[in-house]
Amino acid sequence: MERETVKKKLAERFGDKVRIAERSPKRVYVYADNDIWVDLASFVFNDLDARFDTGVGIDDRDGVEVMFFFPFDREKYYLTIKTFARKPKPELDSISPVIPGAKWIEREIYEMFEVNFRGHPDLRPVLRSDTRPADFYPHRREVKTGLESSRVKLDGQDRADEVAGRPPKGQNP
């Protein structure tokens, strides 16, 4: 479906609940509220006949930005729908009942960012091993910052000392 038609139909159906932005001839972004999220995904997939591709989560200070990609292959552009799941308990309705292909990517976003997809048929972590702690969400900012500081600490001279088995600087052997 042509871009202009898609934009018109989205505006007709959702009015000012969505904000449409075009970054380039090949990319259209639609920002939506949490409450119309599933309706929007379902409308784009079923009524506008887009293909479902995948999703991405991005952690931010106040919440997790979740986006799903819906390419329009004949017209050669990508429509991305975005929403924001607010912290401290990021939650969204699941689109898996409408699009079964989204099952695993929602499980992955849950596992990496702790976004709880309400109504998901089977919301278990998809990638993590059984031995990883249950409350460990590796893509969360606080976890990443923790990793950064441990890397910095083990950098340079300290790291060399550790490898060589020497005591760290400033400590007597």
């Binding site: 380039s24 591709d53 390419p71 292959d73 050669k76 079964p100 990517i105 993590r128 590796p138 893509h139």
Partner: protein
Amino acid sequence: MVKKIPIGPFHPILEEPEFFELHVDGERVVDIDMTIGWSHRGIELLSESKTWDQVPFLVERVCGICSASHPFAYVKAVEDLLQVEVPKRAQYIRVITAELERLHSHLLWTGLAGHFLGYNTVFMWCWKYREPLLDILEAVTGNRNHYAMYRIGGVRRDIPFEEYGNIRKLLDFLWTKNDMLTNAILDDPVIHARTKGVGIFDTKQCRLYGALGPTARAGGYDIDARRDHPIDAYGELDFKVIVCQNGDVFDKAVVRQLENFEAIKIIRQCLDRLEEMGPMKDESELLLEIGEVPPGEGIGVYEAPRGEVLHYVRSNGKNMPMRHKVRAPSFNNILTNEASVPGNSIADAGLITAAVDPCYSCTERVGRVDARTGERYVLTEGDLIRLSQEKTEQIRRQLGAE
């Protein structure tokens, strides 16, 4: 009585660990539960601590086979963010490397499928024909795999002018051999009987499950990122998108075999254009100078041998990606087993799960658990291959074939 049969997490036929739990009633599979993530390496997180120019080296190690497709999609994502177009020569070199990779990946799958079906000659042939292909890749890029060709703004090295003749010779050789393999598959009544109607996945299901690549095209779902979202030189090249209608294992094999011809055509066209351009005069034909990466986001898609690879990058203006998402095609395709395996026999289940060409891995065992009594039967991976080969043998006898 429903029994559960676990397959995995390591499987000797293909390359990546997956675990399938088949719920079987007699010989028939009634349900399947899949677990992935057995070798989760945290590449997305790792990539966020690498500079923009280091990431291609990392992402080409996402998969040993797709070591051109992942960096291709990544550099296109960053170029989408920057809104730049790379020099023509670089575009053709990128396409040639990626299509050579497609040829060797499809040959590898055909060989493995042959082995699984009990056609070990096909397995040996494919390995034999794949070898000169890897030699050419080594001559062109310096490596049989992990080519390190792709760079934001272009490629890292030129294809030496004297190699063009060798590549053309190889393509002629592969064309005849691929022709022979394709005819062998299309004409063999045993392969027809063994793979037709097995693991059917139709167009509607493909759309619902987001199937990609040959898995989708075999089911009549006409998508190909090279045509639909053309990157670099693909927009000006002439090639066909191979689509079959039945969605069974046979069609998946046919799609891959016929795609090899298209890949050869694409490489020939690129070589023609490169020859018209003549030998490289200076480095600017290979690489566009890229400075800072401004804040923004970009999507890069490329049709890898297994389906569409998607890379998403977001920049906050620093020298590293702030977020880098990698979606390999197997992530969508493996999920399709949920719908295509139930209803088939155990001997076919291994074939169907392998027919999506998942990066699905290698080493050992199949266990069999009786769900009611908890009784456990442990079969080796060899047993699974034996089951499959025995079924082929049985069909062969029924058909009276040699």
